[in-house]
């Protein structure tokens, strides 16, 4: 086949004047796929379980982790509560935070990193002290969550202490579009609420109190009893 081709005229790949498809977007290195996020040093030995003698752990954090380990038949079950506690202490699951948890739990940092990178609420990059999760799943997006999220991220661009993220369904479609602000569910949100949320966060007040889910009565009219 290739021999025949070599003798004949060069194969024509297409014979129309303009492309049918748009050009394929490519990354700077020429590939259509992003490749590794970060360079991995393959010459280094894998990290072992950190030595407690050289890994100082804040007492409060150690207590929380050990209490979590004691609650399960298998102490490894405490990995998520322990990483939650470390994230609270350090602001994010930094390499230092993961080392500290690993030292207390007697597991490798790689194991904990595999867990931390799996779950959306554990973050392995620096973030602001305040978390705002905007639900952009189907029920909220039908009610304008995508626009809300964009407006909110734009408004938070200069806020160092506030990290706004779009999130999958948070389980509060009855107050769509909604957001979870440091764990407090608020909604239905309008664009005017964005500034209020940020102001409440800066002032350290309960966020948007009149729109908090916790005060919302059941929608079912029969739930009030006869």
């Amino acid at each position: 086949m290739s021999a025949n081709r070599a003798e004949g005229p060069a194969p024509k790949h297409n014979d129309w004047d303009r492309p049918v498809t748009a050009p394929v977007p490519r990354f700077a290195h020429g590939s259509r796929v992003p490749g590794w996020d970060d360079a991995v040093d393959l010459t280094k030995d894998p990290a072992v379980v950190p030595d407690p003698a050289t890994t100082p752990v804040p007492d409060a954090l150690r207590e929380k982790i050990e209490a979590a380990m004691a609650r399960y038949p298998d102490p490894d079950s405490a990995s998520i509560p322990a990483l939650h506690a470390a994230q609270e202490e350090h602001g994010w699951c930094s390499p230092e935070a993961i080392d500290q948890v690993a030292a207390v739990m007697r597991v490798t940092p790689a194991y904990l990193t595999s867990v931390a990178t799996f779950y959306d609420m554990l973050v392995t990059y620096p973030k602001g002290r305040n978390d705002v999760f905007v639900c952009t799943n189907i029920s909220c997006s039908l009610r304008g969550a995508d626009e809300l999220y964009e407006a909110m991220s734009a408004a938070a661009a200069d806020e160092e202490d506030i990290t706004v993220r779009s999130f999958e369904c948070l389980g509060a479609c009855d107050i769509a579009p909604m957001a979870s602000v440091n764990g407090e569910y608020v909604g239905p949100l309008e664009h005017a609420d964005i500034e209020r949320i940020f102001a409440d966060l800066r002032a350290g007040k309960p966020v948007l109190e009149e729109k908090q889910l916790r005060y919302r009565p059941c929608a079912d009219p029969g739930a009030a009893g006869e």
Binding site: V20, Y72, P73, I80, I138, S141, G171, D174, A219
Partner: protein, 441 residues
């Protein structure tokens, strides 16, 4: 209809033991402990209650699959409610946590189980705090712990908070996550009833199912089975959301016409709008159209209509939204949440997103719909869990039922992007010669 789960649910202080006991709370537990475990199990079997989490498997049967004898057995309450559109368990746990705890203690008694866990999604921080306080109260009052109320039944109960992953609502993914690992689903069999948490026999049930257990014991299984239809007994909490006037949770008798739920209870779509499509059981259920509104809302009627009751979450989409936007939301969600363990799901969800983006950017031809439909078929049934199927079923049904609209969308997008009308493409012969959207040489 008399409410069972939602009966005076907004009563102030119902989340405390004092109010719950005043209303007769933990009475069903006393009644159960006076019976033998087998008698309690028989009541559950007679009630024929089907699991409220999604699969709709009979709870009593699940309990009866547990091996008998002296061994470490576990009960895990699945409170990782993350199916898009579902928010019923949240309301139950927040407002009546003791109802769930009582149900767990009774179910554990029926199965001879002495260790229980509640796996709650990490985002439900407020509900988790309420549950933690309720567990503490129940423990202090002797409803949890050693030799409960003077009987032989012993149970420990631990609340475990997740950290945000849809796949952890899948029972085996949940078990791995509870063991402290990434939430990857496991190969079945062995089923969790034989080999589950820490390799021990494990009973996994949804919050709503377990919360119903005290009521079944209180009124008797036979009485409970009179509610609803023959094969879908009892009441069901339905979360209605999307384009309706009064989104929220409603308790209905199974078998109620869907139209009554969407229009009478939830108020129907906004004025001037009509129902375009709706998901009867969360975003994983194949979509139904406006013509299907009179189908009774129960497990078997939904299955007969080619969809499923799932978690009992109705999402209504009105005629102002292009169907492509709905498909794109779905596909992106499942692509984000795929754990990556099985290739058909990991690749299938991602390629479906790319193909939908091709439509939006004006590069697609109707052949892409063919390919997309075949990708969905290759996902279904080929993975360890049903996450991939959960995308493939609704996307497949959207392609099947809304093909003319999608084709019009393709044409309009090509017009916008200036990639040439479809007639030109067909004239070039590309569409006829090749089975793919790209010329293959």
């Amino acid at each position: 209809m008399k409410k069972i789960l939602f009966d005076r649910i907004d009563e102030p202080g119902l989340n405390t033991l004092a109010v719950y006991e005043r209303r007769g709370g933990y009475g069903a537990l006393r009644k159960a402990l006076a019976m033998s475990p087998q008698e309690v199990l028989d009541e559950l079997l007679t009630s024929a209650i089907r699991g409220r989490g999604g699969a709709g498997f009979q709870m009593g049967k699940k309990v009866s699959f547990l091996p008998k004898g002296d061994m470490d057995k576990y009960l895990v309450c699945n409170a990782d409610e993350s199916e898009p559109g579902t928010f019923k368990d949240r309301e139950l746990m927040q407002k009546s946590p003791h109802m769930l705890i009582e149900g767990i203690v009774i179910a554990a008694y029926a199965g001879g189980i002495d260790r229980a866990f509640i796996y709650i999604r990490g985002e439900y921080a407020y509900q988790a705090d309420i549950l933690d306080a309720a567990i503490e109260e129940a423990r202090a009052a002797g409803y949890i712990g050693e030799r409960i109320l003077g009987s032989d039944h012993t149970l420990s109960l631990v609340l475990h908070r997740g950290a945000g992953a849809y796949i952890c609502g899948e029972e085996t993914g949940l078990l791995d996550s509870l063991e402290g690992k990434r939430g990857n689903p496991r190969l079945k069999p062995p089923f969790p009833a034989l080999e589950g948490l820490y390799d021990g026999p494990t009973l996994i049930n949804n919050v709503e199912t377990l919360s119903t257990v005290p009521h079944i014991i209180a009124m008797g299984g036979a009485e409970y089975a009179k509610i609803g239809t023959e094969t879908s007994t009892g009441t069901k909490l339905v979360s209605v959301s999307g384009d309706v006037k009064r989104p929220g949770n409603y308790e209905i008798e199974l078998g109620t016409p869907s139209r009554e739920i969407i229009f009478d209870l939830a108020g129907g779509p906004p004025d001037g709008r009509t129902v375009k499509l709706w998901f009867p059981g969360g975003s994983s259920a194949p979509v139904l159209t406006a013509e299907d509104l009179d189908i009774p809302y129960d497990f078997d009627s939904m299955a007969k209509a080619g969809s499923m009751l799932g978690s009992g979450a109705i999402i209504v989409v009105d005629d102002s939204h292009p169907v492509l936007d709905v498909a794109m939301k779905l596909a992106k969600f499942y692509a984000h949440e795929s754990c990556g363990k099985c290739v058909p799901c990991r690749e299938g969800t991602n390629w479906t997103v790319k193909m939908l983006e091709r439509i939006e950017s004006g590069e697609a031809t109707p052949m892409d719909l063919e390919i997309m439909a075949s990708v969905q078929e290759q996902i279904i049934g080929n993975c360890l869990c049903v996450l991939g199927d959960a995308m493939a079923m609704p996307i497949g049904s959207i392609i099947e039922k809304y093909r003319p609209e999608l084709e019009a969308h393709i044409e309009a997008a090509r017009e916008r992007a200036g990639t040439g009308s479809l007639e030109d493409v067909v004239a070039l012969g590309v569409a006829d010669q090749h089975a793919g959207p790209m010329p293959v040489h």
